[in-house]
Amino acid sequence: MKNEVNRFTVRFLSRSANEGFARSAAAAFIAQLDPTLDELEDVKTAVSEAVTNAVVHGYRNKIGDITMTVKLFEGDIIEIVVSDKGCGIEDVEAARAPLFTTGGAGRSGMGFTIMDSFMDELRVRSHPGKGTTVVMKKRLNARRYK
């Protein structure tokens, strides 16, 4: 693993109003790497999905803490960790399949699919009753080929 050069962590309540805050905060922090607009939008989208999963599925009908850490590594690699202490996921593999959802009419079941396709790497660790941690990585490299 390359050396970590910067990091920030933020903790907020699982209120849906914080979905926009979280993606904007992550985008503002990685702006120091001079990402392209496409890269910035990819990261915002993935963060929005991860935080929404914690709000809707992790805590369901209650409010709890969501922690987001954004790390910057040498080589323009970013890592985003979103974790909750909610109900956890019984079957992570099934949850990652397209169209799987337990969230009702307002959800499409495409959250993990979007995270997977907008980032380079996606890992999901979950323990029923203890919570879920989503780790996403992406190398920002488009500007190298300008």
Binding site: S16, A17, E19, G20, D38, E41, K44, T45, S48, E49, T52, V55, V56, P98, G104, A105, G106, R107, S108, G109, M110, G111, T113, I114, S117, F118
Partner: protein
């Protein structure tokens, strides 16, 4: 997220304005369906030119609008899809249902 709609010659144009995420999606789907139910248009046109960003909740809004329009036998058209919302819709495989460009037809 703000929504407004107009009805002209049987076509209901629904304009969305703002970032579209789970925070506003549930209420938005309800508002759109109520508008379709009360006006019973022949065609529904969902104008997304005012949506600079959406996550997968936006897919649920598009599909929910489509389901509601179908219930009333109304055709549906999706217009003004920006770059980022288009990428999300493509990642969800929406192109299997319709061509994806500035104008999409369902």
């Amino acid at each position: 997220m703000k929504m407004s709609h107009t009805l002209e010659n049987g076509t209901m144009v629904i304009c969305l304005n703002g970032e579209l995420d789970h925070h506003g999606a549930m209420e938005l789907i309800g508002s759109i369906c109520r508008a379709i139910e009360s006006e019973v248009p022949a065609r529904v046109c969902l104008d997304m030119s005012g949506v600079p960003f959406m996550d997968s909740s936006g897919i649920a809004v598009v599909m929910g609008t489509m389901r509601c329009a179908k219930e009333y036998s109304a055709g549906m058209r999706l217009i003004g899809v920006g770059q980022q919302p288009g990428k999300v819709l493509r990642a969800a495989g929406i192109e299997r249902l319709m061509p994806l460009g500035q104008e999409m037809y369902i």
